[in-house]
Amino acid sequence: MRWLMTFRIALRALARNKLRAFLTMLGIIIGVGAVIAMVAIGEGAKATIRSQISALGTNVLVILPGSNVQGGVRAGSGNRYTLLDSDARAMTRELRSVAYASPVLRRQEQVIAGNLNWGTLAQGVAPEFEQIRDWQIESGRFLHEGDMDSAAKVTVIGQTVARQLFGNDDPIDSVIRIRNIPFRVVGLLVGKGQTGHGQDQDDTVMVPYTTMQKRLMRITYVQSIVVRAISAEKVPEAQEQITLLLRQRHRIAEGREDDFTVRNLSDIAEAAQSTARVMAVLLGSVAGISLLVGGIGIMNIMLVSVTERTREIGIRMAVGARGRDIMLQFLVDAVVMAATGGGIGILLGIGSSEVLKLWANWPTLVSPSIVAVAFLFSGAVGVFFGFYPAKKAATLDPIEALRYE
C-alpha cells in the first residue's frame, strides 16, 4: 500500500517536470542505446568474422603425406606416396569428429575450349569437397558419387576459367579439353575471390579425383586429404583421431615417426576471434562509460531536485512522512527515470543497429542477453546514483526544510 503510494507520488513528480525528467533520462537513453548498438556491432563483426573464417575453413584439416627421407636428406612434406583415397573414406566412415573428407590431387593444366586456351589449376576432388570448402554452385551441379565410380569426364569450373574460355556465354554442357581429353562442363562455381596470399581461387577446374588419378596423372595415391571436423571445437579431437587411424591403417609401429602430417587453420581462427573479442570489449566499455556518465547526470539532477524540493520534503515530514518514505520517494524517482531511460535506450539501440544493418550494410547482432543486462544495469544506476540524494533528502531536518526559501 505504502509502496504503491510512494510509487504514485514519484511518478506524479516526474510527470510535473517532463522536460527535466526527459533531459535527465537522455544520459541513460544515450548510454543504454550506445551499449546495445555498440555490442550489436561488435557481435555482428564477430559473427561475420566467424563465418568468413569458417568459409576459409576453420574446422578444416589438411593431411599431407610425410617427408621422404633418403640418406639423411629430408625432402619436406608431400613427397611420399602414402595417402590413398581409401584413407579418406575410412575417416568419414569411422571417425565421429569428422564430418567430411575428400582426397585432393592438383596439377597445373592447359585447358582448351574451341579456339581459346587457358592455363589453370586442375583439382581432382570428391563430392564432399563442396561441403568442406563451403563452396556453392552458381549453375549446374557439383561432382557426385557416380562421377567418382566411373571416373567420368565431367568438370566443374571456376569463374575465372569460365570468363577466359566462354566470356559471358553459359558454359554448362560445353566441352573443354584437358590433355586432349574432352570434359563436359556440368557446373559453374560461385566466385570466391582471392586468398590472403593473393592467389585467385576462382582460377580452377575441378574433376572427379578418380578421373584425375586414372586419366590425367596416372597415379594410384592421392596428394592430400582435406577434412572438415564437425565443429571448430572438435578440431583437436579430429586431429588426434585421424593420426591414430592413419597410423593404424599404415601399420606404423609404436615409436616410429608418422608418414603423414595433419595441419589445421585454427590458429588463424583463434587470432581473428580474439581480435573480434577485443573489439567487442572495447566498444562495450566505451558505451559503459557513457552509461556511467548518464548515471552521474541522474545524481546531479536528483541533488538539484532535493534542494529545490526541500520545502516540499519539510511539508511531507510535517504531515507525517518518515525518513524512509521520503527516501523511497526519491529513490523511486531515480529508478523510474533510469529504467524509463533504459527502456527508451533499448529501443534506440535496437533501432540504430537495424538502421546500420539496412543502410550501411553493417552486420549487427542484438543479443537478448545484452538487452536484459543493459536494462537491469540502468535500473542499478538509478538505485546507485539515486541513493545519495535520497539519503540526503531523508535526513533533512524538518524545521530547517520548512523554513527553506
Binding site: 505504502r2 510535473r16 520545502r311 511539508i315 511531507r316 510535517a318 504531515v319 507525517g320 512522512a321 520548512l402
Partner: protein, 237 residues
C-alpha cells in the same frame, strides 16, 4: 477535561560554536482538551522553539513533554513522524501547500502516510474541505486560490487525520486583516463546534484576542498566562 499538553521544566539550549544560547528556560504549562490558546512574544522570545517541541519536530535539551499523558519529548524521528501524522495538525504562516497539486490532493497528503484506502481518503478529504468552506474548489491548484482559501486548504489538511491538537504558526501573517479575521473565525468555529484544541502563535495582539487564553513569552520564559475575558468573536457574514 483531560490534558492534551503538559510540559515540565522544559529547557532548550542551542550551541553556536562555543557559545550556548538558551532559548527556553524551564517552561511549565498545561493545555486542556478544547482550549484555544494564543502564544505571543517578540521574535527571539522562544515561542517558535516551544512550538517546534510541541510539534514533535525538535528535542528539548531537558525537561518532559507529555502529549495526551504520554512522554514524547525523547522519542525517535520515526515515532515522531507517526505522532505528527496522527495527533498534530500544522498550519503555517506561508500555507506550505504542495505546488502544482490540487486542493484535494493536498488535503489527502497526510492520509497517504498512514495507509488509508483511496476511496476513504477521497471521502474524508471532501468532508473536511466542505467543513472549511471550500467544497466547490477541490480541484483548484494553490496558485488558483486566494491567500485565505489557501490557508483554508492548509487547515483542512491539518484536520484530516482528526488530530488531538492544531498548532498554528502565525496563520494570518500573510493575509490582510479582513481575511485574517475570517481565518480566525474558522478556528473559533472549529474550536467551539468540533472541540478541537488549538495553539496559535502570533505577535499581533488583535489576533490573540480571538483566543480564550493568552500566553506571553519573553527571553525563553512565560511572563504572562491569563484567560481572555473578552474574546473577540468573528461574525461570519
Amino acid at each position: 477535561m483531560s490534558e492534551v499538553i503538559h510540559v515540565e521544566n522544559l529547557f532548550k539550549t542551542y550551541r553556536m560554536g562555543d557559545v550556548e544560547v538558551p532559548a527556553l528556560r524551564g517552561i511549565n504549562l498545561t493545555v486542556e482538551r478544547g482550549e484555544f490558546v494564543a502564544v505571543m512574544g517578540a521574535s527571539g522570545s522562544g515561542k517558535s522553539t516551544f512550538m517546534n517541541i510541541l510539534g514533535c519536530l525538535d528535542h528539548p535539551t531537558s525537561g518532559k513533554y507529555f502529549l495526551e499523558g504520554e512522554e514524547v519529548g525523547s522519542l525517535s524521528r520515526n515515532e515522531w513522524a507517526h505522532l505528527r501524522n496522527k495527533r498534530i495538525g500544522f498550519v503555517f504562516q506561508g500555507f506550505n501547500l504542495l505546488a502544482r497539486t490540487s486542493a484535494l490532493e493536498n488535503v489527502e497528503l497526510p492520509m497517504m502516510y498512514n495507509g488509508y484506502a483511496g476511496k476513504q481518503r477521497h471521502e474524508r478529504a471532501m468532508e473536511v474541505l466542505a467543513l472549511v468552506g471550500l467544497g466547490n474548489r477541490v480541484d483548484h491548484l494553490p496558485n488558483q486560490l486566494s491567500g485565505g482559501q489557501q490557508q483554508r486548504v492548509a487547515i483542512a489538511r491539518a484536520l484530516v487525520n482528526k488530530p488531538s491538537l492544531i498548532l498554528a504558526d502565525e496563520p494570518t501573517g500573510n493575509l490582510d486583516s479582513a481575511t485574517g479575521g475570517e481565518i480566525m473565525g474558522l478556528f473559533q468555529r472549529l474550536n467551539t463546534d468540533q472541540g478541537i484544541t488549538i495553539i496559535l502563535v502570533t505577535h499581533e495582539r488583535d489576533i490573540a484576542e480571538y483566543a480564550k487564553r493568552q500566553i506571553v513569552f519573553r527571553d525563553g520564559g512565560v511572563i504572562s498566562d491569563k484567560s481572555n475575558n473578552q474574546v473577540l468573536v468573528h461574525l461570519e457574514s
